[in-house]
């Protein structure tokens, strides 16, 4: 059977939407074997699928476990594209430094955000949990990300987000990086009050906002 590029892209998108990692990997292999470039397959196969997932999740037509499976399928394809992509000069969608603030050991929400960001082409540096203010500052200094993401799961650890933003200002780093915060007790009001650029109530929103913030930063 002859290879049809359009059908391959469509099937790849669908494999991401359905969260089928085996199909996503097989379709990626088929595309590469038939001379499709990694960038073309990413742009017209995998990413459109993930865009549908993001939109459906935002609209309440898809739920978190389905999104996680979609991200897993996306990642299965991305793993095969990586060697090709690293050879080319394709820029990532943006660079994000992320961590759970000092005193807080919760990381599942942060991990889901990382997973989805990587799935949509971001380079992410994960600082882990219980991250000291100084560690956030030195990571921003050293890696110069477009975006700094902070997560907190407890009302008692939320103030650490303010400390990080204040330290960014004191270190003259605040202008060079967009800040996004999230986590169970964090609200839009709190994010605004501490001087964050954005607040995300869930992982899907975080990805949409990071895309917007990275575009602003790149423009």
């Amino acid at each position: 059977m002859s290879f049809d590029k359009k059908i391959n892209f469509e099937l790849a998108s669908n494999s991401v939407i359905r969260g089928n990692d085996e199909d996503a990997a097989q379709l990626t292999q088929e595309a590469l074997a038939n001379g499709i470039t990694a960038k073309e397959f990413l742009d017209f196969g995998l990413i459109p699928g993930m865009d549908v997932v993001g939109a459906r999740f935002r609209d309440g037509d898809m739920f978190l476990p389905e999104v996680l499976l979609a991200a897993r399928a996306m990642k299965a394809g991305m793993e095969l594209l990586k060697p090709e992509l690293s050879k080319s000069d394709i820029k990532p969608a943006g660079k994000v430094v992320i961590g759970t603030v000092a005193g807080d050991l919760h990381d599942i929400g942060k991990n889901i955000v990382i997973y989805m960001l990587e799935g949509t082409g971001f380079t992410v540096l994960d600082l882990g949990i219980n991250v000291a203010t100084e560690t956030f500052i030195s990571a921003v200094q050293q890696h110069q990300p477009h975006i700094l993401g902070m997560s907190a799961f407890l009302t008692t650890t939320m103030p650490a987000m303010r400390q990080v933003i204040e330290s960014l200002q004191k270190s003259n780093l605040r202008e060079g990086v967009k800040v996004i915060v999230g986590g169970a007790p964090v609200t839009e009001h709190f994010a605004h009050e501490i001087g964050s650029d954005a607040y995300a109530e869930d992982a899907g929103t975080a990805v949409t906002i990071c895309k917007r913030l990275a575009r602003l930063d790149n423009s």
């Binding site: 359905r18 969260g19 089928n20 739920f63 978190l64 476990p65 389905e66 996680l68 499976l69 991200a71 897993r72 990642k75 005193g103 807080d104 050991l105 919760h106 990381d107 599942i108 991990n111 889901i112 990382i114 997973y115 407890l154 009302t155 008692t156 650890t157 169970a184 007790p185 609200t187 709190f190």
Partner: protein, 260 residues
Amino acid sequence: MICSDMSRIVPLTITEVMPKPESVLMQMGVPRRAAVSSAVQSLVENAIEILSQYAAPAGVMTEISEKQFTIVYAGEGCNARDTPLEHIFPQARRLAVYALTLGEKISGKIAGLCNSGDVALGGALDAAASVAADNGSEFCEQFFYNLIAKKQPTIHDTCVLAYSPGYCGWHVTGQKKLFQLLKPERVGIELNDNCLMHPIKSVSGVLVAGAREINYFEPHWDFCEPCTTYSCLQRMKNLRVLAKQTMTEEDNVIRQENKF
């Protein structure tokens, strides 16, 4: 110095904490009875299977007096100015503090899955473990109720409800005094400098045994505003449903008695 010698290990096993798939899905934000794909169902079933292999539940409980709990509750003096629990516990008939954990291995497994890039399974396992910890908490409530019922068989209107530091105005630093009294280190639970429990899938708090009505309150405190769970509303709703069921059962008994 507060102390207690009425301490006991809670006979908690994996059977008591095992979550149902629909509870795990709800924990992951899927509404009750929503249709999900077979892939999602397999993901959740896989997570529950892993949980059954890695979770090692253990719990400890100590019955305490109101006076003792007043000291525990005051904690480090960081509680909100007015809280529901400070109105509830003085009306309790019996009080106990408790802590339980699912053990270190399950937390390690969740982290391992996430670090290896399988956040889908790691996320599902995390949700399954959270439900299991809640189930463990419910088991402790029932265990305390049964202990009371053994000595006082006529306690129809008594219920047991758990409250935890970090929620509803009870500051998380309240853990310090609770740990001093309970010593949950003997079942492997430790407190870090930020008053967070290790292993992370652990629960602690007070078990309040008393009339159902003492637990009813309006969630209009300052600290309710940023709360995203509103689990208090569900707990109160459950109590009201239980009260209605009990009343119906009692009505039936009366009707049966009148028949003869």
